[in-house]
Symmetry: C2
Subunit: 257 residues, 2 copies
């Protein structure tokens, strides 16, 4: 009887051991799967590959960018079509804006970029443009047409040059680099543009834009006092749809911009 | 007897259950700890906070940067001392190089940055400078002294302007932005510099530098054929320690650089 009991005990022990080994393995498998899931989520959310990071080099390839604006339209111009050129990629980032677009550039004479900004404006997005007081007025500058369309523009008057070249798409996508928003920079120069949504890089630019925007408020109490000779002109810089007198200076576009 | 057996069976079952529950919990705890460790490692290695990311705005504060070069020296100049200005932070990134420094800039006339590059050269680092063919020769350009010291310099001749403003520290730290390496840009303009070691941003710049360096090899077989009128001068652009004739053109430094 004792032998039978011992035998049953051993058999039961083996049976229980097998059951609990299976349970432990199952638990381990569930734990592993969950860990991989959590790891994957963290990577997608916070990891190196989680935030958009892109580098675009210029000059752009010689091609039509009509498909960026009107994907269904068959453009008949003689340029190559359907290419994802550097300019097309830059335009797509600008056009990806859903609510706001803040532009802070030294010069703005590129008509494709201007067209993109006007398209966003017509969709009702809140657009702000901050530009260098001198280079905002070069021949071919798009600042006039943009202001006439009703877009808010402020001229930076607090430094020798406001030499930034960045834009903030929806306050979270930064487009920055060496590229001024001019025809020559896009088509001729060797330039770089970096696009990122990495908060540690984007946030300082968001703060810098707001700081400069506030500092150049024409209604501000002396925070951005205009030079005496241009005081009257400067005061009108933020009126929507009203062209600043004397801003479309007739000079040649400077090389290197 | 049967009741005793059943009682023993139930007691054994409970005992085994408790033992294996403990084992399963232990296994779970070990799994959790390992997952957290692995997650932490991944974060440190690849995560958002893992790679250096820094944004520096200019103009720099008005202060002495002698402590960046000679931390133990008591500078007697009348400027404020010991401040970690924007320029000091930029210089520290440049001076952090241990083996190589590749510079690709539109203009280079800032003497503090030149001093940093010369200091690295004297330590035996491999330094390469790629500069715009026109703006490398502006008044005050540091390219002459750097070449005379034996640093390799190539002039980009393939575009209207080589307008990049970046440097690669040890091939893995990217310093880029709107800032030309000039006195005005550092002291007067509103500019930005971004510093990152994020591979997805750094690698394209490493490749771009090598592409431009190779394309402007004066020994290259027509890859960067110099304009006819400057052919003789251009061929001498990479000789170490030999000044290129006629390059120190006497003109005024252009605004906005």
């Amino acid at each position: 009887m004792n032998a039978t009991f011992n035998g049953s005990f051993a058999a039961l022990s083996r049976q229980m051991s097998a059951v609990w080994t299976l349970k432990a393995l199952g638990l381990g498998a569930v734990g592993l799967t969950l860990s991989v899931e959590v790891l994957g989520w963290f990577f997608r959310r916070f990891g190196s590959k989680g935030f958009l990071k892109e580098v675009i080099f210029f000059p752009t390839e010689f091609a039509c960018v009509e498909h960026v604006f009107e994907p269904t339209l068959q453009c008949l111009c003689p340029l190559p079509h359907g290419l994802e050129t550097s300019l097309a990629r830059l335009l797509r980032h600008v056009l990806s804006a859903k609510s706001t677009l803040d532009i802070c550039v030294f010069a703005f004479s590129n008509m494709d970029l201007s067209r993109a900004v006007l398209a966003l404006h017509s969709r009702g997005l809140v657009i702000r443009i901050l530009i260098d007081k001198d280079y905002g007025c070069i021949t071919g500058s798009q600042i006039g047409p943009l202001r006439r369309a009703g877009i808010r523009v402020r001229y930076d008057s607090g430094a020798v040059h406001m030499h930034h070249k960045f834009a903030l798409v929806d306050g979270r996508r930064l487009v920055t680099g060496s590229l001024n928003w001019t025809l020559q920079a896009v088509q001729k120069n060797k330039e770089n543009v970096m696009v990122t949504e990495e908060p540690r890089l984007v946030t300082p630019f968001v703060q810098e834009f707001q700081r400069l925007w506030d500092a150049n408020d024409p209604e501000g109490c002396g925070r951005a006092a205009p030079p005496p000779q241009q005081g009257t002109e400067r005061q009108g810089t933020e009126r929507q749809g009203t062209e600043r007198q004397g801003t479309e200076r007739q000079g040649t576009e400077r090389q290197g911009t």
